[in-house]
């Protein structure tokens, strides 16, 4: 038997580890017996292969998971402009532009901090917003109820609106109140004034609109 080259050993190990060749094959058995290093390498890598098999199996199982009946409503689909990868070249003016962008972001943030109750609603996610496509009106008191109303620049028949009221001290992840899903196509939300009074003073209304697959979010101070 000719002694296998390093590449032959690599390929044999690959075949054995991947289960494409059996260690009981007499030729393989002879090779392994003649090469304890190869045998040790095989034994050392087998647990890793088992881990990878388990990870692959988990992924396939979860991918094939049937749609649960209690899946609830479809979630809004967020798709900001996809990024096209390009070869990176650093032009001389890049640092200047980056510095200017930082200043602008800082200013926008500072303005937002200073005036959270802006009448038109404050954009909270610059990556998904374009100007004035979703406007929040000032809340109105009608017959002991507070009416929140918003509008879109264009009338979109399949528009959906998700609305929550949250306390900034707690965060948007844990809203105080979520508008019932049955109302998702409506552009108003009416809540008893007595209930609104119980919300923390800094509470904010956040509306996420899905318009023809595009998502816009705006928010404003509740009071």
């Amino acid at each position: 038997m000719t002694f296998p080259s390093a590449d032959d050993c690599d390929r044999l190990l690959a075949e054995l580890l991947a289960g494409e060749r059996s260690a009981r094959d007499p030729e393989v058995e002879a090779m392994l017996q003649a090469n304890p290093k190869l045998q040790a390498e095989l034994a050392e890598l087998l647990p890793l292969v088992a881990r990878l098999n388990a990870a692959g199996s988990r992924e396939r199982m979860l991918l094939a998971e049937p749609v649960a009946e209690d899946a609830g409503r479809p979630l809004a689909v967020l798709h900001p402009t996809p990024v096209v990868p390009k070869p990176f070249r650093r032009p001389w003016w890049l640092s200047l532009v980056a510095a200017a962008a930082l200043v602008i972001v800082g200013l926008v943030y500072a303005l937002g901090q200073r005036d959270p109750g802006d009448e038109g609603g404050m954009p909270d996610d610059l990556g998904t917003l374009s100007a004035e496509e979703l406007m929040l009106e000032a809340p109105r008191l009608v017959d002991g109820k507070v009416e929140f109303r918003w509008q879109t620049a264009a009338r979109v028949p399949s528009a959906r609106f998700e609305a929550v009221i949250y306390d900034p001290a707690v965060g948007r992840d844990l809203p105080i109140l979520r508008r019932p899903i049955e109302l998702e196509s409506s552009t108003t939300w009416t809540i008893d004034a007595s209930q609104v009074q119980q919300f923390p003073a800094a509470s904010r209304l956040r509306v996420v609109a899905t318009l023809q697959g595009r998502v816009f979010a705006r928010e404003r101070a509740l009071r």
């Binding site: 990878l52 990870a55 998971e65 649960a68 979630l75 689909v77 967020l78 996809p82």
Partner: protein, 191 residues
Amino acid sequence: MGAHPGPQAAHAADLALARAAVARDDHAVATLTQRLSCVARFVRAANQNFGGALRREDLEDVTQEALGTIWRRLGDFRGEASLETWAFRIADFSVRNATRRHLLRQSVSVDAVAEPAEDGCADKLAEIEALEGAMAALTPDESVVIRLKHYEELTFDQIGKTLGQSPNTIKTRYYRALASLRNKLCPPSDS
């Protein structure tokens, strides 16, 4: 020795769809939006896999986060797996991040000293994170072979066809990728 054909994206139609969506083709964007409705299901399934640590509201946020990442990174899609599989990996990653944050919050919360329902969740998360972390540290050439072998269950011949290389080259790459992965998971000691 015969020349091997160039790489043929295993999911060429998906790749074309992704590229069209990147170019803002309306039909492609609409088709992709529909295809990506599976992400919410992936998020729920991945959460269940970690013992259901996240609540329904958290899952909605995680889904949005995953969808945002998917759309932003659409230009990186190379068609080596189906769009759904690629999207699943991003969704799974988002769930892992959210679960880790959740467990961290719990560990500092006085009210939640012990949550038996989530026993084992941290261990499972750590196990998957370790493996995925090591996979992410591989070169793209290494990780693609491992994924195609163990996650897509392709043979060396099939991987060779997908990547436009001979099966023997793929076998060598596979073994070296495994050895590299082992070293990342258990770095050899200096002694």
